[in-house]
Symmetry: C2
Subunit: 498 residues, 2 copies
C-alpha cells in the first residue's frame, strides 16, 4: 500500500510560519509536564535512506529542553552488543521516568535488512517482529509513551536526492556505493517495509507514516504527532489519578488530527482511468472465458476462492459482480449479499456469519459487502463501540490469515468513485423509473458522511492490506474500466495460486 | 511440569455428599442468570484418554437445564469440514447469547496429535496454537466466557484403567489397539501437551488442570470452577452496567478457590531425598571439576549462561551458589545479588536491571534472587498492582524466550524446604552468633505469609516453566542433596547445549 500513499502533500512557507511557533511552544510545555509526571517517552525514526531523518530529528529537538532528552543513532551492533541478545542494547537505551529518548533508526532497521538480504528467513523475521511488539508492549504497559515514525519518499525522489547530493562538492562524499546499492533495491525493500508496518502497528505503539517529500509538511506532521501523543498520555495519567498536577495549556490536538496530516491512499487514486469501448468488448470476452476455465481448474484442484466487494454507494459493485459471473458455471460459485444482521446473527460474534459462509475447497464465494462493514458503516454510524471496531482490524487480519494459510485465494476490491460521480449517478437513478428503487434517503444521508467514510476507508487500507491479503483499489469513475480491473484482479490472484 | 503435579488429591464420600448438592444448585441458578444476561459460555474438555471426560461431562450437565446447552463431541473432521479452514467447524459451534456449549475434545486434540505424529512441524504447531489463542480471544472480547479443562492422570493410572476395562466383559470392546498405542506414547504426548497448556493459557481463556484420579474430587473441582467463572463474568457484566438484573444467591467462590482445588507442584515434592556423606564428597568433587571444564568450553564456544536462584528464606541459596562456583574461574562468572531496586532502577521498567546484567556470550551470570521477585515478593507483599504481576508471567516468558533463542543456557532453580525445616534453620541461626546477622524480623514476618508464597510459587511454576526454560525444583531439606542437584542441573543444561 505504501507506494499508493499520496506523497504530494505540502505546506507553503506562509502557512508554515503561521503554525510552527505555536506548536513548538506547545511541545516545550508538554515536555515539562511529562517530566513532572515522570512519563518516559520513546520516539523512533525509521524510513528510507535520504528521507531526511537527521534533518527532521533536528527540527523536532529544536523545541525541546536539551537537559531532558537523548538522541541515539543506531548502527550495526558493536562487538559488545553482538555478544548479547538482540534487544539488550535497546533495553539499555530505554528512557527513564520523565525523559525523552529519540532514536535515529532502531531495532527495525536490521530486521528489515536481514530479510531483504535473505540472511534471515521469513519465519525468523516474523519472530523478530513479534519480539519487537513484545518489547514495545512491555514498555508501554509500564507507562512509556512510544511514538514511531516512518519517513516515506518515492524511489524517484530518493534518486533525485542522491543525485543532488552528488553534484554538491561539499556533500558528494556522503553518497556512497552502498547508498546507490540500497536505492537500486528500493523495490526489494518495499514489501518487507510494508510487512514491518503492518505487523508491528500495535495499539500501544502505532506507526505514523510521514510523507517526507516536503520538509515543512514533514516537520509539522512530526511535531504535531508528538504533541498529540503526549497530550493523550498526560490525559490518561491524569485520569488514572494524579490530582496534584494539572495539565495546562491549549490543546493543539485538532492540528495533529487535521485532515492534511492523515496519510491517504484514496487521495492518490487516479480516477480518470478509462478503457475504450472496442477494447472493453474484446478484453471482457477474453477474461470471461478465462474465468470460466479457471473456475473448473480450481474445482479440480480443490482451491477455495473468496472475493469481497466493498465500495461507495453506486460505485458499481452489482454491475462488476454481474460481469464477473456472467459466463461462470453457477454450480461453482455463490454470491452472498451482506445486509443488516438477523437476530440469530446478532446473537453470535460478528464474524460468525462470514465464517459460516466460507466456501468449500474448490468453490467460489463472492461477498457483496463483507466483514469490513464493522470498520466502515458500523464505525461511521456508531452501530458498535469504538473499542469494537478498533479491535476488528486485528480480528479480520487473523481470520483472513487463517483462510489464506488453508490455501484460500482471497481478493478484496474497493470500488472507488469521487463525490461528484456519485452525485451524478444518484441523480441518474432518480430520473430513471427502472432504477429509482436502488436509491433511498439513506443513500443521500450516507453521502453527507463522505469525509468520515473516507477516513474509515483509508484506515482500513492501512490496517488490513496485508502481504497475504492485499486490497485492490479499483478506480471506478469509468464503469468499464472498473469491471475489467475487477475480473483481471481475480484472474491474476487465481493464476498465481495454481 | 505436568508430571510433577500432585495427583494424590481426593475427597471422601462424606465430604462429597456434604458439598455436591449445594454446588449443583448454585450452578443451576447461575445458568439461568447467564441466560437472562445473554452471556454465551463455552466449556472445553481436553485430557488424556481414559481420564474420564465423558463421565465428568455427565456429572457437569446433571446440574444444568437441558434446554440451555449443547454438548458436541469432536472427532476427526468429516469431509465437509476438511474442505474448509480449520476453525470453520468450531466457529459453527460457538454458543449464541445466553447458551452453554460443552465440547468433548476441541481444536487442541488434532493439533497435539499432529505434532506427536510429526505430521506437523514445530512451526506449524506454534501457528495453530496462535490461531487457537486468536479464536478464543475474539470470542472472549465479544463477551463469551471460555472455560478450558485438562483432565490429568498419570501413565500408570491410564494403564490401570485400560486393564480394568479390558477385564470387564461388558466394556472390553471399548479398549482398542489405538488406545494402547496412545498409552505407549504417553511420554511422547507429555511435552506437547505441556507446550499446549503453556502457550494457550491466555487471560481470556485460562486452562484449569483437573487431577482426575479421584472422580469425586474431579467432579467437584470442575463444577466449582464453572461456578466461579460464571460468577466472575456476571459480576463483570453487572459492573459494565446492567442495572435491571441483580446477581443473586450465595457465592461459592470460596469453594472453588479453596486450597484443595489448586493444582500444586510444591505439594508433590519429596523432601525426604538425601545423599550419603561419602557419596556427597565424591560426587561434589567430580562435578566441581566438570563445571570448571565446562566454563572453559562455553567461553571458547561463546555460549552465554544464566543461572537464576529462587527459594524460601534459609533454603540454602548462598551455600548452593558457593559450592557451584568454588572451583570455577572467577573471570568467567559473576554473581548478581538482587535486592530492593535503586532509585535509577525504579525509574525504569522492572526488567531493565536484569537486561542490563545479561551476560556476554561465553560468560556466566548467576542471579541470587531474580526477575521472579515480581511474581513472588512483590505480589505477596503488594509492592506492585495485581495487574502488574499478572502481566509479568508473559513478560518474563518473552524475555527468557529471547535469551534462549539467542543461544543462552538458562537454568532456574527453586530451592524448596518445608515450613518446619525453615523454623529449625531460623532457630539455629538465632542461636549461632556468627549467623545471627542472617536473620531479621522480616524473615519471621515472611514466614507468616507461607501459604500466600506457596500459592505464588505454584502459579509461577505453572506459568513460567516453559519448554525452553523449565524450572528445576530442588528438594532442599538436605543441604547436601540440594547442592548436588543444583550443580548437576547446571552441568546437564550446559552439556545439552554444547
Amino acid at each position: 500500500m505504501l507506494e499508493k500513499v499520496d506523497l504530494k502533500k505540502k505546506i507553503s512557507k506562509i502557512e508554515y510560519k503561521g503554525m510552527v511557533d505555536g506548536i513548538r511552544e506547545r511541545l516545550g510545555e508538554l515536555q515539562r509536564q511529562a517530566r513532572d509526571l515522570g512519563i518516559p517517552v520513546l520516539i523512533v525514526f525509521e524510513g528510507w535512506d535520504s528521507a531526511g531523518k537527521g534533518t527532521l530529528i533536528n527540527e523536532l529537538i529544536l523545541s525541546l529542553d536539551p537537559r531532558g532528552f537523548n538522541v541515539y543513532s543506531i548502527g550495526e551492533p558493536n562487538q559488545e552488543e553482538a555478544m548479547r541478545p538482540y534487544f539488550w542494547r535497546f533495553w539499555n537505551k530505554t528512557p527513564q521516568s520523565g525523559r525523552l529518548v529519540i532514536l535515529d533508526r532502531s531495532w527495525y532497521t536490521q530486521i528489515v535488512a536481514g530479510r531483504v538480504s535473505k540472511s534471515a528467513s521469513a519465519q525468523e523475521t516474523e519472530k523478530k517482529f513479534y519480539d519487537s511488539i513484545a518489547f514495545e508492549r512491555q514498555l508501554a504497559d509500564a507507562g512509556t509513551l512510544i511514538i514511531k515514525f516512518f519517513l516515506h519518499i518515492s524511489e524517484k525522489e530518493q534518486r533525485k536526492r542522491l543525485k543532488t547530493l552528488e553534484q554538491d562538492p561539499a556533500a558528494a562524499w556522503r553518497v556512497t556505493e552502498v547508498d546507490w546499492e540500497q536505492h537500486r533495491q528500493y523495490n526489494k525493500y518495499l514489501p518487507v517495509v510494508e510487512e514491518m508496518l503492518q505487523q508491528t502497528d500495535a495499539k500501544s505503539a502505532p506507526w505514523t507514516i510521514v510523507e517526507a517529500h516536503d520538509r515543512r509538511y514533514a516537520t509539522l506532521k512530526i511535531i504535531a504527532t508528538v504533541v498529540q501523543a503526549i497530550e493523550k498520555q498526560l490525559a490518561l495519567v491524569e485520569a488514572a489519578g494524579c490530582p496534584d498536577v494539572a495539565v495546562v495549556g491549549n490543546s493543539l490536538s485538532g492540528l495533529a488530527s487535521a485532515k492534511i496530516f492523515t496519510s491517504s491512499i484514496l487521495a492518490g487514486a487516479d480516477l480518470t482511468k478509462t478503457v475504450k469501448d472496442a477494447e472493453y468488448e474484446k478484453v471482457m470476452k477474453l477474461y470471461q472465458t478465462r474465468i470460466r476455465e479457471l473456475e473448473h481448474i480450481i474445482y479440480q484442484k480443490r482451491v477455495p476462492v473468496v472475493i469481497a466487494f466493498e465500495g461507495w454507494d453506486a460505485a458499481g459493485k452489482g454491475g462488476a459482480i454481474r460481469r464477473l459471473t456472467e459466463h461462470m458455471d453457477p454450480r461453482g460459485y455463490t454470491v452472498i449479499p451482506t445486509s443488516a444482521p438477523t437476530d440469530e446473527e446478532k446473537a453470535h460474534h460478528y464474524l460468525w456469519r462470514f465464517w459460516r459462509n466460507v466456501p468449500k475447497a474448490g468453490h467460489i464465494a463472492i461477498f457483496d459487502r463483507s466483514w469490513y462493514g464493522r470498520v466502515l458503516v458500523e464505525r461511521v454510524e456508531g452501530f458498535c463501540l469504538e473499542s469494537d471496531w478498533r479491535r476488528a482490524y486485528k480480528e479480520i487480519n487473523e481470520m483472513e490469515a487463517q483462510w489464506v494459510n488453508f490455501g484460500t485465494v482471497l481478493v478484496k476490491c474497493w470500488l472507488h468513485i469521487d463525490k461528484e460521480e456519485q452525485k451524478r449517478r444518484f441523480e441518474e437513478r432518480m430520473a430513471n423509473p427502472g432504477k429509482q428503487w436502488k436509491i433511498t434517503g439513506e443513500d443521500w444521508r450516507n453521502r453527507e458522511q463522505w469525509e468520515l467514510y473516507e477516513a474509515a476507508v483509508d484506515e482500513m487500507f492501512f490496517r488490513t492490506s496485508t502481504s497475504y491479503a492485499p486490497w485492490t483499489l479499483v478506480e471506478a469513475n469509468s464503469k468499464e474500466f472498473a469491471r475489467v480491473k475487477v475480473i483481471q484482479s481475480v484472474i491474476e490472484a487465481i493464476e498465481e495460486k495454481i
